[in-house]
Every structure is written in C-alpha cells, then in structure tokens.
Amino acid sequence: MRTAWLALALWAGWEGANPSAPVEIRTFQFRQASLEVPVGTEVVWSNRDAVEHTVTSGAPDSADGAFAGELADSGAAFRHRFDRTGTYRYFCQRHHFMRGEIRVVPHTHGES
C-alpha cells in the first residue's frame, strides 16, 4: 500500500513538472545565448559571475517588460516559464552587450 502511494506521488510529481532549460551566465556571457525550447518550458538563468547581472526582456533600447530578473551575485538564479510560442530577446541591464534569445516552439508529438 505504501509503495503504491509513493508511486502515485512520484507519477503526480512527474506529470505536473514543467520541462526546464538552464542558461548559465559566466564571464559576462549568456552561455546558451540562443536557445530553443518547447512551449511551457521554465528557463532558469544561473549567475556564475561574482557581480550583478540582470535578465531583462527586450533590447537595451526597447525593454518590453515581459520578464525581468536581477541576479545579485554568483549563485543567484531567475526563472521564467514561457507559455506562448514566439521569439523572446533579452539582455543584461548592467552590461548591454550581454544578449540572448529564447525561441519557444510548439510541442512536437511524443514530447512530454
């Protein structure tokens, strides 16, 4: 009985989990600067530099406010789930040369 509950809990947790994709920030770069993910994916940016970076949607001359995160120091992370298809550009507010792009595409058949 206990095993059945555990299996059920694991199944529920697995079914409810969103796919996630990492973007590492290191040496003032978004390492996965151009990333393609299926809709519903939670992208997780992790700061590995000992300095503040931001993840700000849009471009330096046209931030669009769709998402914004401040990663104060090394070890800080910011998460954002992308629920609609499209191309999302972003940059670092403190270092405008740091830029990235998330392409959110429909699920392909068979993907969880």
Partner: protein, 210 residues
Amino acid sequence: MSLMSRVTTAAAAITAALTLIVAPAGAQATAASDLRTTLNTGLSEHVWLAAAATEAALAGRGGEFQSAAAALDANSVALSQAIGSVYGSAAGTAFLELWRKHITFFVDYTTGVAKKDRAKQDQAVQNLLGYADDFGAFLSSANPILPKDVVAGLVRDHAVGLKAVVDAQAKGDWTTAYAKLRDAAAHMRMIADPLAGAIAKQFPEKYAME
C-alpha cells in the same frame, strides 16, 4: 614614505604573492613566456596610447586624438584576441566590450577635465571604480585562481594612476605627467604577470612543459 611609494610597495607585494601562488611547477613553456610577454606588452602599450590620446584631446589636437584613439582601440582588440585565444572568442568579445567601456569612462573624465566640469569628472571616476569590480569579476570567473577583489584593486590602481597622468597633463606639468605615466605603464605588470601565471596554472597542458 609617500602615498605613491606605499601603493607601489603594496602592489608589488600583492603581485609577488600572486605570482608565487600561480607559478606553474617546472620549467615554463615557451607558450607561457609568450603569453606573459604579450600581456605585458599589450597592457603597457594601452597606458602609453591612452596617455597620448588624452594629451592630444586636452590640447585640442583633434586629428592626433582620432589617430591615437584608433591605435588605442587596435590595442584593445589585440588584448581581447589574447584573452579569446585562451577562453574562446565569445569571452574575448565580452572582454573587449568591458575594456572599451573603461576607455569610454576615461574619455568622459578627460572631457570633464578639459571643460572643468567637476560633476562629469566625479561621475567618470565613480564609473571607473565600479568598472573595476566588473573587470575583477570577469577575470575571476574566467580563472578562479584570480581573486576578484585583488584584480579589482589592481584595476582601481590602474585607473587612479592614469587619472594622475591626465590631471598633470591638464596642468601642463610635464615632469609629473611623464613620471606618473612611467608609473602607470610599469603598474600594468602587476596585472599582466599574475594573469599570465594564472592562465598557465589553469591550462598546464598548454602553457607549461615537463
């Protein structure tokens, strides 16, 4: 002992300590020596060209300033290529952006001095000091052997040293300007040597031999 002497002595001690920490075991490869020479030459050249540009700007010699600025940028590109050869072209590009940023702050400072605009000078100095933290973080992230705060301190010393050159140039005090310029150029070894040593330590297969 003067403030400058104390700063120089302290910086030399830091460099000596860092060099001991990061020196690769055994004989250094030619590649390591070449890297150290490249960084020393490039960083020292940066100071001389920056001073040539600020002197021309302060004197209102526009054509000469443009040429000096172009040579200074070529030096920046060469430095970024040296970094890129170690950490990849994307890191080299990030380095170049950061490096150019501090040159922009120096142009701002020089403009502030030329126009006797104290607020602009103060803002430029603040930006330069903040930039030192960014640069320390960049190198420390690329190479954890290099402590962020130590690198940031050395970059602050670089900014203060070059600021002293600009201040003396603006006053027409050429004896001081050239003495400070020699100090500022020599100081770059405090950055180049530990950086080259740390890279050699990080990539012994490339920069050290049995």
